[in-house]
């Protein structure tokens, strides 16, 4: 069972995610970020499907780049993913199909996902990670 929650930080927001496997962890991290991006927004349905691809050099950088891709799309395409299907996820490459919603103005308070203290680590359920989001 994949899950996400937000943890306290003096000035930023920590996104804590867990899932049974690596594709599941990437998907739930994307959904958790999307929840933050849509706070206070009035989203409209968007039937179009997008293919998202990210390449990085290890798991942690792939997770950070994936979240930063979503921040970028929210701010420039005014689009936030809601349903995320990870089609391919290695330690250095991700390919996803996503459906989402459109927003009238770029909705986010998130500037970027950071590497600070980031480690994708084994858990009882599979994998977990904490990502500090600069807000």
């Amino acid at each position: 069972m994949a899950w996400h929650r937000f943890l306290d930080h003096t000035s930023e927001i920590i996104l804590h995610v867990g899932a049974a496997d690596w594709p599941g962890l990437l998907a739930v991290a994307g959904k958790g970020l999307a929840e933050l991006l849509l706070r206070g927004a009035r989203p409209a349905p968007d039937p179009a499907e997008r293919v998202l691809e990210v390449v990085a050099h290890d798991r942690e950088s792939l997770l950070v780049d994936w979240l930063n891709e979503i921040v970028y799309l929210a701010e420039t395409a005014f689009w936030v993913p809601q349903e995320i299907l990870i089609e391919e996820a290695s330690d250095s490459r991700l390919r996803a199909r996503a459906r989402g919603v459109r927003v009238e103005t770029a909705p986010s308070l998130v500037k970027a996902a950071t590497f600070h203290g980031l480690q994708v680590r084994p858990s009882v359920e599979g994998l977990e990670a904490e990502v500090i989001l600069d807000v």
Partner: protein, 482 residues
Amino acid sequence: MSEDTRKPGSQYPAQRLSPTCVEIPKSARADLRVPARVWADAELWKKAVSDRTLEQLLNVATLPGACGCVHAMPDAHEGYGFPVGGVAAFRAKDGVISPGGVGYDINCGVRLLAADVGVGEVKQRIESLVHDLSRAIASGTGRSGDLRLNVPELEYVLAQGSRSLLERGLATQADLEHTEAGGSLAAADPDKVSHRARERGRGQLGSIGSGNHFVEVQRVETVYDEDAAEALGLWKGQLTILIHTGSRGLGHQVCTDFVRIMDAVMARHGIKLPDRELACAPFASPEGKDYFGAMCAAANFAFANRQVITHAARQVFRRALGDSGDLRLVYDVAHNMAKLEEHGGQKLLVHRKGATRAFGPSHPETPAAYRGVGQPVFIPGSMGTASYVLVGTDEAFGLSFGSTCHGAGRAMSRTAAKKVKSGQEVRKDLERQGIVVHGSPGELAEEAPHAYKDVDRVVQVVHDAGLARKVVRLRPVGVVKG
């Protein structure tokens, strides 16, 4: 005397050097290249050791080419990579430059405008002025400003900063003379700013963004130094406007791009770090030079952003008050930046993340108008509390690489702040104090005064330590939140 409070950040030996400064020696950790200094009285020291501020500061002290000491200002708190309120200098010849040492909001900064009228003269119009400001200035993350720049126009802004706005009539020569570096960093290299960063920034010029960014209408409440206040053109009762914002999505993306680039090349440069967010490269390397050029271009965007907001504020005030609504720029100063400076005969790259440059009266980069007084420094408190105008000191040059604090500093997470009071309650509190507020309930709750340290205490520490000198205290009468 030694201080060793057994709290999260205080497993390290700490020596109090003065009532306002604590030092953690180089011997505290095997990987430190220099000692660390925390500018704090006993109360603020307790806060500094209550989270990961010290650990993050000591991580900075491991970076190659670090000089002197790394510093945490009295408003410092846990961030990511560098602590917020961190200052560190690295040798230009063989030291590093770190995007995480500047932060995602490159050239986040503050500018102060002063009116020719007192708040008392326009008291009945404050509500409508604040309302009109909120309509004229785009706020909220990603929300577009009035100016949507085409490709050459954005290029010009990145290269020239506030100077690019002269021809459009959005800036004056006097504005440039009262902005750090003239509002235009010559080292800017727009070619190093990615397409993605440009896309994020193209529609955001003239917008304040979210989080702790704001435009505030204020009254000069207390004058501490009559001569300095006169030099800055400030007087008791005067109406002022404080603008706090940065380089918006463009700067965020520049940092994202270069953290990624440097993370990938650190091994090649033989750099090992205790925290990946400190990703860095030698300043003299291609990656270091590229980041510096891109960072300066993003900083120029930020100077121009605050200038466009200034123009919008001027239009609002002129419409409402005629000639007496003229707003003079007192100064504009950055608090997230890496700058090439000479200290002790060495060229250093001084990183200030949530810290303000505070050059003294005799420094050649102190603007001509304030030579003999000191470079103005603005320390915003929080909604409902005071803000301060200070001036830099020559003494600070030797103490903290000419740096001081940048605000009150957060003391509480956003979640914790919301548990204390709802946005509606915060709004009522502020209105009871006669402060007109424009902002969403969520933002108001997260940015409420109780979420911050005591700005009076923070400012008193920098004043007593000689890092900057108090000139006036400002009291808010109206707030436009991001």
